[in-house]
């Protein structure tokens, strides 16, 4: 018999997973906007962020005796900085040269290669095992009308929205943000304004990995963390970016939540083995009928 309460429960947990997809997809958008390139190592950026966060937190807790919620707060800015540095390295090693030589595919291979290298690096530093990420919030679920919501799930949704809002605010209000928007709209004209557009592209890679690292420390307390955390999430988020549209902020939130919910529903009602299928079918449908994404403006290359 169909149990409505279970259904709602699945939707709720789908939303929080979906927000993670959304944030990582948002990261894909950031670099696409300025440079029409993507970091295919985005999932690995997420994984590195979460493992770096794990190490920072356990060090803070064991050496300085800082309690977990506080350790989590102290860890956040460090991990965000780590993410920015990691993204800048990806741009510097993998993308800049491809853009300079106007290579069509160079950045694809380069970012995939860097992703693999980062994964191997993580396996060597942290091993292949998974770790339980120390939770900053209590494990006890909040009961609302029979629906159980984990405090961490609420934090994920709020954190994801806050991050996207912060980037949006930066773009709209600050002169440097406007330079990013100008570069996205017309890189040549932005150069004429005196904007160092190469630096803007580096910045967008840094911000993109920052969002991934942030997603990493948001999701890790409800999943587990480990060197293999990134691959699946990175791919899912990529599907979300395509489904929602590479140019639409609303698109990645809606696309992410949509995918998160269908994942959970399929996993429960059909089989966890088919959990990834509906999302990927949706991806195929979007690609055939609306290639710019459900919310995207035309991102198809004009020939």
């Amino acid at each position: 018999m169909f149990d409505f309460q279970t259904f709602i429960q699945l939707v709720v947990s789908g939303i929080s997973v979906g927000m993670i997809y959304g944030v990582v997809a948002f990261g894909y958008q950031l670099t696409f906007a300025t440079s029409r390139t993507l970091n295919f190592g985005q999932g690995e950026a997420l994984m590195l962020g979460s493992l770096a966060g794990f190490t920072i937190m356990t060090q803070l807790a064991s050496h300085l005796g800082i309690p977990m919620p506080l350790a989590y707060l102290l860890m956040l800015p460090l991990v965000l900085m780590f993410g920015m540095a990691q993204g800048a390295v990806v741009e510097w090693l993998g993308v800049r040269q491809a853009i300079k030589t106007k290579s069509e595919a160079g950045w694809i291979m380069a970012t995939i290669a860097l992703g693999i290298i980062f994964k191997n690096l993580a396996e060597n530093i942290w091993g292949r095992d998974t770790f339980t990420f120390p939770a900053p919030l209590p494990d006890a679920a909040i009961q609302i009308g029979g629906i159980r919501i984990l405090p961490m799930e609420v934090l994920i949704v709020c954190g994801a929205l806050a991050l996207m809002a912060a980037v949006e605010l930066f773009n709209r209000r600050s002169i440097y943000g406007k330079a990013v928007v100008a570069t996205s709209a017309d890189i040549g004209a932005a150069g004429l304004m005196g904007v160092n557009t190469a630096q803007v592209i580096t910045l967008s890679y840094a911000l993109s990995s920052l969002t991934a690292a942030f997603a990493g420390v948001l999701v890790a307390p409800v999943t587990l963390t480990g060197a293999s955390l990134g691959s699946a999430l990175g791919l899912k988020a990529f599907a979300v970016a395509i489904i929602g549209g590479l140019t639409s902020g609303v698109g990645v939130v809606v696309g992410g939540v949509l995918l998160g919910i269908t994942d959970r529903l399929t996993g429960y009602y059909i089989s966890t083995g088919y959990q990834d299928v509906p999302g990927l079918v949706l991806l195929l449908l979007v690609l055939s009928f609306k290639p710019s994404g459900l919310f995207g403006k035309s991102a198809i290359k004009k020939v």
Binding site: I175, Y176, K178, A179, V181, A182, S184, A185, D186, G188, A189, A190, G191, L192, M193, G194, V195, N196, T197
Partner: protein
């Protein structure tokens, strides 16, 4: 103020400009005329770093800028209102103007009074004042042209390059554009104007250069070029 010597530039292996030399004195309005494909736009693009010159020298107030990236050239005081206007469609009119002052707001050029300059632009281009908060992408072609010029002026440039500001505009708007150019000239803005309307350009300019197949074919005070039989026959049409 702007001195170009033996500039060679083009696209890939296609050479468009063959050792052109020209000179724009401080406070002067100099026009570069010529038929389609003569290399007028290419010249401006090479000056502002949108394409990299192959060889030759470009100096602003004595400082060499040839080969620099465009953002560095802008920081040395050269503003370029490019072909096709290139306003930022997703930014508001005001934000487009603010972007014109990017170097001043970020400390790579003297700041001056950006707010006062914004007010000055709105006075010079009243239509922009009306559409201050509208996205630039929603403006008409004429309004976008005004915006492109105003945005370039927000640099407080030492030299302003104007690429065909009259292109694609209705006759009435063309007149308006030329009247603004005259007002800028009266305000002693140093300008290099590329124009398809050669007669109108020579009317407002102090000095003119005629570009033919990537070479300077004639040059002189605008008054003299206007009356030069060869120039008249080729560029000004029989009616003039």
């Amino acid at each position: 103020m702007l001195t170009v010597e033996k500039l060679v530039a083009g696209y890939g292996k296609v050479r468009v400009l063959h050792e052109i030399s020209l000179d724009v004195q401080e406070g002067q309005l100099v026009t570069l005329i010529g038929s389609n494909g003569a290399g007028k736009t290419t010249t401006l693009r090479a000056l502002s770093g949108m394409i990299k010159p192959e060889s030759g020298s470009i100096r602003i107030g004595g400082a060499e800028i040839a080969g620099l990236e465009s953002h560095l050239i802008t920081r040395r005081g050269l503003a370029h209102s490019p072909e096709g206007r290139r306003v930022f469609p997703v930014l508001s009119v005001e934000d487009n103007l603010v972007m014109g002052a990017f170097t001043r707001l970020t400390g790579s050029r003297p700041k001056g009074d950006v707010k006062a300059d914004l007010a000055r632009m709105y006075e010079l281009f009243p239509r922009l004042a009306e559409r201050r908060l509208q996205l630039a992408g929603t403006l008409s072609g004429g309004e976008q042209q005004m915006l492109a010029m105003a945005r370039a002026l927000m640099l407080n440039p030492k030299v302003l390059l104007l690429d065909e500001p009259s292109m694609g505009l209705a006759p009435k708007l063309v007149e308006e554009v030329f009247s603004i150019v005259s007002r800028l000239k009266a305000a002693k803005v140093t300008m290099l104007l590329v124009e398809q309307f050669a007669a109108a350009a020579l009317e407002v300019a102090d000095f003119g250069y005629v570009l033919e197949n990537g070479r300077i074919a004639a040059s002189g005070p605008a008054e003299r070029l206007k009356n030069d039989p060869a120039v008249r026959a080729a560029y000004l049409g029989a009616a003039h």
